[in-house]
Symmetry: C2
Subunit: 88 residues, 2 copies
Amino acid sequence: MNRIEIVGIVAGALSCTTFLPQVVKTYKSKSTKDVSLVMFIIATVSTALWLIYGILIDSFSVTFTNVIVFISSAIMLYLKIKYRNREN
Amino acid sequence: MNRIEIVGIVAGALSCTTFLPQVVKTYKSKSTKDVSLVMFIIATVSTALWLIYGILIDSFSVTFTNVIVFISSAIMLYLKIKYRNREN
């Protein structure tokens, strides 16, 4: 494996974990007032599309990465909606 | 252009905009208590790596997408740190 691909793999592995710290923080605090609903709607829809694209082009990397990001962004979207009535 | 590539392009265009609603919300509210610092550290570092990877493999799509996401996540990281002392 060359150095360029190592950069890509590290980038991909890190990207997978992007939303996990937010999920953990929100699960603990049960507060989402400052978190953007639109951000997680966009993240959930775009990763669902990336997932479909990964399956269609038969790419394991694209599919696998986006399964993880899709699940974490969908959980955050659920938490945001769940705790929405606590915002005032 | 076939239908599969249209799915990929829509996914990519949406992904570019993921953090923008959070930047706008935080710029207006000046409050980031519920936003995860670690999420935006990961997002900034991983998109910087994707950007380097895009340049190294000479891919316009990877580079262009990640310039936008890198800028928006770096702005959010800056805002999170800037408004951190308002959190208590």
